[in-house]
Assembly symmetry: C2
């Protein structure tokens, strides 16, 4: 481990400055094994001296119960800061906690504080391909350059992956799936003859306690194995997966497992053989079980060849309809990976009812750190507040989404961009995801504060940064699709407005705007019945046009433009008001950033300024298209007489 | 020249059957040179015997005046059919005329009939790239497979090109530009180090009297020559073009010339150097002049980064605004290539006023045989009637478009598909283009008859074929964008409906539909003033909402949905009626085709049936989206109570 920074790559939240409180301290690490070694290396890299009479002591308890595989306890007494853990991974998490605390870790007395992750697995999914895909680029829905793992079909130098592992470990992430869930031909071979490349990546992640997972094609037995079928109940198919998986573990003893997108958007799956998704997931779970691996089976299954004329089909219903009946049929090491909302990572969606519908199934909730629908890292949009709302949402009685989920998974926003994430401020999303996955009750604005402190230092204009980022998700919401209706984006690339772009397509993403009103009737009384998939009280709250929260009104109801919201405005005036206000707010964000001039690295300053210029342009475009669209349709003038084209 | 058919490739309008009347005849060809040789070879290939005492005599007059370079005279007396020409190319055209006549050429007496082409150049532009373009495929706007010239970046075996040359010659085509007007990096090199490939293609076309032209990048002096500028007034640039062109003619002595798309949709051009398009065109014309070559300079110049909020900019105005002031400034061997309509090959557009605005300039009118906006060779859409309307249109007093144009050019619909054109019935468009370019006064339905006779034989159900094709263009118009408004297609690929797809984009293709009405106000009185670009009476006819023809109403006027058309219907009811009728008509076309079962080659039958199935599906999709869109907006119910979604 070199103490040099990776040339040309931004240190993100681990610049040398972040280790200042540890530098020149005496540190003792009691423990053996690679992760304890990593703690020692990190201490030395920070500038500390390894010594027996230490001010900072890392120690294994020899126990196993209270702190678990990854938790730690921190305390300070008699001038010694003590990090205790039951297992070496806990020491490493404790080390990065000390980094976050900075001087506070070495000041006064501290009572014992226990930190145990809420989620057993905190995982990032990379949608990386080995080479550039003609339509999707190399990283599907990636806005940060090429893959950090592969270039032009071949494995890259992994120095950057090692640096990435360190960054992720500092947030609490412990699992990474390294390739696209849409598994193309070349990528399929990572499972077999190219597994050595996966092993090399796993070796880069291993010192930081992060396991590597692999997206695989359900058709692998046919595509790679030459079998005539991939039927999950076929003995030869089961044998092929058992044998193949055994070979993977020969190459990577701590391999995490498989990720599968099956029967979705053209991917193969068990439906092709008349089998259920439980059959499909259990096939892989069975192969992985002897080695302690898991399969992440995505619940993102819907009819993407829907006829827009057919009002009875509702894409929002699909995951529940497919999976709820299968609860209890999945093996223990199969994890159902459910997007947080019923559609697809929109800026505003209700919580997916599937999360409450699978009490006898391991559920991972999937978020999207990459900003596919939230500005594609050209817009500053801090997603911590959104994820916090999702995780705290009491979906089943008092039980929140965080309480219902065994795991938290997200699609990564990282590429080979010098700032890792294209937009430098999008680093905060990656950071916040890891922190919230570890502890969902954290305040997202405090997490943002941590990120600013570590990344940009304690002396920058924090008020300006909070002014830019704190409300940026709600600002983004305000100038894009209104009131939860979603999907008014350009088809294909999903950037910028196109109100009718998906309205008559097979993708099942409609708003049904006409001259009288807008929204999707998903009630049991008169609509698709989607509200009935929720437990009480939500099944009643969402069913009722009076009780439904404003921000989800058009997701659940088709209402006239004159409908009065809880906030007192009509729907049409609310659309105008939020769009004018949102675009203005972005101009304010743009002005606030100028206050950082001279306080941050000039190149970073410029990069953010450029992106904010584009955000100003794009927000005005959104404002004008949305307002014009609804003005042309409704004929209702803006009460405040502002310019609508 | 082999008498075998090209394996796996459909013979189109030159199957052995088409030569039956010539087979076993005694033929004499008096003349020397390669084109006279071709006539002899064709006669032998048809099964004729070369003999002095012939029934069919081809003879050069030794004169030059009355028939010109390509014309011929045909007559029959005393049992001898005589084809006279002033030049060998005329003999070849005469030969194919005899093929078209069949037995009639050898029956009774025939007075002398002169056939001289109306257009001196009858040209096809291929938009072929050397390799597959990530977005556009290999052939831009091609719907018939890959290029017949190149595959995977390398030149193909040219047997197919030779067969293509023969087919084109039989229609009267005498010039082909072989590469995309959007000249990408690899294709630019065809001008210099890869000119040998152009020479090889030229050799394949030469025996059929067809010259090869090349699309070149205006930036060639920079890209290929390493010069610091491509400024048309820079002496080094002029010298580079002179030298480069000299080398091209060294390789291809009968090279036709250059085709240039400049300052258009991202292509470089003279605007970058503050020069006019006359400067740009003359630069190349000057280089070509010593060798008898010409430059085709496209007038397709407009602002494709328009702001939809700016109502003062009108894409329809652009070509006239750019080029009319330059009339008289172009060299004699510069040809201004003008699309027939002011926008872009829509199903229905008014005639481009540029065609009448350049009396001192050589004008080529450009049509689109490839069906980019007319069903992409998945829809049967015979374009002969449309082109005939265009050519016969009296744009300047009594002078028609055919009279104003020196040349006719069209974008080819040919690829390496077994039927040449994807949809077998789209062959008729290629055939008709050549025939109309030779003689614009021909009846397009008679041309269709010729094509059927030659291609499918005299015994097929001609009534069914006419039922399918005669009105197919107007049928296509009826179920797509209404009343001349245009461009309601999916952005990018342009297939299928998307009413608002381009409405808020920078491409300048708007319809301004709101809850009250639809259409673009292009009047002088209240609109963009485009009507003022026309000579009288059209400037007044189009200006007047009362006099404007129904089919162009929404191109020129924004009217309420209740506006009553000349046909007595309101605009909204007309939209409903035409869309229901159009989709029904396609179902009828589909049924008619079944009558051909057993009368044509089974593979061809199946291919057409599949395409008609898709046309039925697509026409219903168009009907329902257009009707639903306007019903949602207008709120006006269908007077006949039919199903609108």
């Amino acid at each position: 481990m070199s103490t040099d920074e990776l040339a040309g790559v931004h240190p993100a939240w681990l610049p040398p400055r972040a280790f200042r409180a540890i530098a020149a301290r005496r540190v003792a690490v009691h423990g053996t094994g690679p992760l304890a070694d990593t703690v020692r290396e990190e201490a030395v890299r920070a500038g500390a001296t390894l010594a027996e009479d230490a001010e900072l002591v890392f120690k294994l308890t020899g126990d196993r119960a209270p702190l678990g595989d990854e938790g730690f306890a921190i305390s300070r007494a008699g001038g010694v800061t003590l990090v205790l853990a039951d297992a070496p991974a806990g020491l490493l998490h404790g080390f990065f906690h000390v980094v976050r605390l900075g001087e506070a870790a070495f000041t006064g007395e501290r009572p014992v504080e226990r930190h145990v992750p809420a989620m057993r697995r905190r995982m990032l999914d990379h949608w990386d391909n080995l080479d550039v895909h003609p339509v999707m680029g190399q990283v599907e829905r990636g806005y940060s350059g090429g893959s950090i793992f592969w270039e032009a079909g071949a494995q890259r130098d992994l120095a950057r992956v090692r640096a990435y592992a360190r960054l992720l470990a500092a947030t609490g992430i412990n699992a990474v799936a390294i390739n696209n869930v849409n598994v193309h031909r070349a990528e399929a071979h990572l499972l077999t003859d190219r597994v050595g490349e996966v092993a090399a990546v796993a070796a880069a992640f291993r010192p930081y306690g992060i396991r590597v997972h692999l997206s695989v094609s359900f058709a692998s037995p046919v595509v790679l194995g030459g079998l005539p079928t991939a039927d999950p109940l076929d003995p030869a198919v089961r044998a092929w997966w058992a044998e193949t998986t055994w070979r993977v573990y020969e190459a990577i003893p701590d391999f995490g497992g498989y990720v599968v997108k099956a029967d979705s958007e053209g991917q193969p799956g068990p439906f092709g053989y008349g089998r259920s998704h439980a059959d499909g997931a259990n096939l892989l779970a069975e192969a992985l079980e002897p080695f302690g691996g898991v399969v992440h089976w995505r619940a993102f299954v819907y009819n993407h060849r829907q006829d827009w004329r057919d009002r009875s089909t509702d894409r929002a219903r699909a995951a529940y309809d497919h999976f709820a009946p299968l609860d209890g049929q999945f093996r223990d090491n199969a994890i159902l990976q459910v997007k947080y909302g019923p559609i697809d990572f929109q800026t505003r969606e209700p919580i997916s009812p599937v999360i409450a519908a699978m009490p006898a199934t391991n559920v991972a909730v999937e978020l999207q750190v990459t900003q596919e629908y939230t500005g594609q890292q050209r817009h500053a949009c801090y997603l911590g507040p959104m994820w916090s709302e999702v995780l705290r949402f009491p979906l089943a009685g008092h039980v929140t989404v965080a309480g219902l989920a065994e795991e938290l998974v997200a699609v990564s926003n990282v590429g080979d961009d010098p700032y890792w994430t294209g937009h430098p401020l999008a680093q905060a999303n990656l950071y916040a995801f890891g922190r919230l996955a570890w502890e969902p009750s954290l305040d997202p604005l405090s997490i943002l504060d941590e990120w600013v402190d570590l990344t940009l230092g304690p002396d920058v204009d924090r008020e300006a940064l909070h002014g830019i980022l704190d409300d940026s998700w709600r600002t983004y919401e305000s100038y894009t699709a209104p009131l939860g209706v979603g999907f008014m984006v350009r088809p294909g690339h999903h950037y910028g407005p196109d109100v009718d772009g998906y309205e008559y397509t097979p993708w099942g993403t409609y708003h049904f705007a006409d001259r009288d009103g807008v929204g999707v009737d998903r009630t049991r009384a008169t609509g698709t019945g989607f509200t009935g998939q929720y437990p009480k009280p939500w099944s009643d709250v969402y069913e009722s046009v009076e009780r439904c929260p404003d921000e989800l009104l058009l997701f659940f109801h088709h209402v006239p433009y004159g409908h009065v919201l809880h906030n007192g405005a009509t729907v049409i005036q609310h659309i105008y008001d939020t769009h004018f206000a949102g675009a203005e707010r972005v101009e304010e964000m743009r002005r606030l950033w100028d206050r950082l001039d001279g306080q941050v690295d000039p190149a970073l300053f410029e990069r953010v300024r450029e992106r904010l210029d584009e955000q100003v342009r794009s927000a005005a475009e959104w404002r004008d298209q949305i307002n014009t669209y609804f003005h042309r349709k409704s004929g209702v003038p803006d009460a405040k007489g502002r310019r609508i084209y």
